[in-house]
């Protein structure tokens, strides 16, 4: 999937370095209160959160760790959009 490259105003819990990036769903975590709504005092809506895995070398040009190194983040469903599987 791809993380939407949104720049909406207000409180955002999807870090800028992941927006617009492609990763893989690892697992459904929990249905959790949307932290972006919680910032304004709302416990609703409760939304599905997914653990999404990114390859470090895809995130950071010139990454000099191991090419298999990865990063995961816990992202709300609304930030994710499906893409065609890479060949």
């Amino acid at each position: 999937m791809r993380v939407k490259a949104l720049h909406s105003p207000g409180h955002i819990r999807t870090p800028a370095y992941l927006r617009g990036r492609e990763g893989r769903l690892v697992a459904h975590l929990l249905d959790l209160p949307d932290a972006e709504a919680m910032a304004y005092g709302r416990r609703e809506p409760v939304v599905a959160h997914w653990r999404v895995r990114f390859v470090m070398a895809d995130l950071w040009p010139g990454y000099d760790g191991d090419p298999t190194d990865t990063l995961t983040a816990d992202l709300a469903q609304g930030w994710l959009e499906p893409i065609a599987e890479a060949a």
Partner: protein
């Protein structure tokens, strides 16, 4: 200076302040916190004694609780599976109250080393580890852990063995992560309290690994 300052400045707004907030003049964020607490107490949302109880509750939480959970996971595979599914539930088996926020665990293996960070703020499994260390909250750690984790680990004195990949976890939701490190070699037959002593706070964040003989 005018004569107004000569007046007695006794509190007239109808409540007491926690004594620890009055020891010195608060500045910056501390002043803001004191002002907000004062307003909320004034509104009657909670009282000063409740604030003190919450502070005491958080101060009472230490990494020893997390270390107990890890030690149990090392000796009991079925418990480890339950901890990997739901730390809060598994901790309850040990009589540990982990608070309201969901905590999940990741077990490091010879193939993958897990490291926890919160780039957005300082999300941390406080329910099991207590308050986070200063470095965990620093901009430097938060920025670098996701960008050059191996360099960060080296500065903590940790060099991963060849063939072990690193997986960094950015805590971006209402969920906290805890690392179950690898049980060190040479601890066969040890009892749980002895094993728990090997489990440092940092090893449950992923910036250290437990070992025998180095504490």
């Amino acid at each position: 200076m005018n004569h107004e300052d000569d007046h007695d400045h006794a509190h007239t707004h109808g409540h007491s302040h926690p004594t620890h907030l009055e020891d010195e003049v608060a500045t910056g964020p501390a002043a803001l916190a004191e002002a907000v607490i004062s307003l909320l107490v004034g509104k009657g949302l909670f009282d000063a004694a409740e604030v003190d109880r919450m502070v005491a509750d958080m101060d009472a939480r230490t990494p020893a609780a997390g270390a107990r959970l890890v030690a149990r996971a090392w000796v009991d595979t079925a418990f480890k599976e339950r901890a990997l599914a739901d730390v809060n539930l598994a901790a309850r088996e040990l009589g540990l109250d982990t608070g309201a926020i969901a905590i999940r665990a990741l077990a490091s293996t010879p193939e993958v080393h897990h490291l926890i960070v919160c780039t957005l703020c300082s999300c941390y499994p406080s329910g099991l580890l207590g308050l986070p260390p200063e470095w965990y909250k620093s901009r430097s750690y938060r920025a670098r852990a996701v960008r050059e984790p191996r360099a960060v680990l080296q500065e903590f004195g940790l060099e991963l063995p060849p063939g072990q990949r690193i997986e960094v976890h950015d805590s971006t939701a209402e969920l906290r992560w805890l690392v179950i490190p690898i049980r060190p070699a040479g601890t066969e037959g040890w009892d749980e309290p002895s094993l728990a002593k090997l489990v440092s706070r940092d090893s449950m964040v992923g910036t250290a690994v437990p070992s025998v003989g180095r504490g």
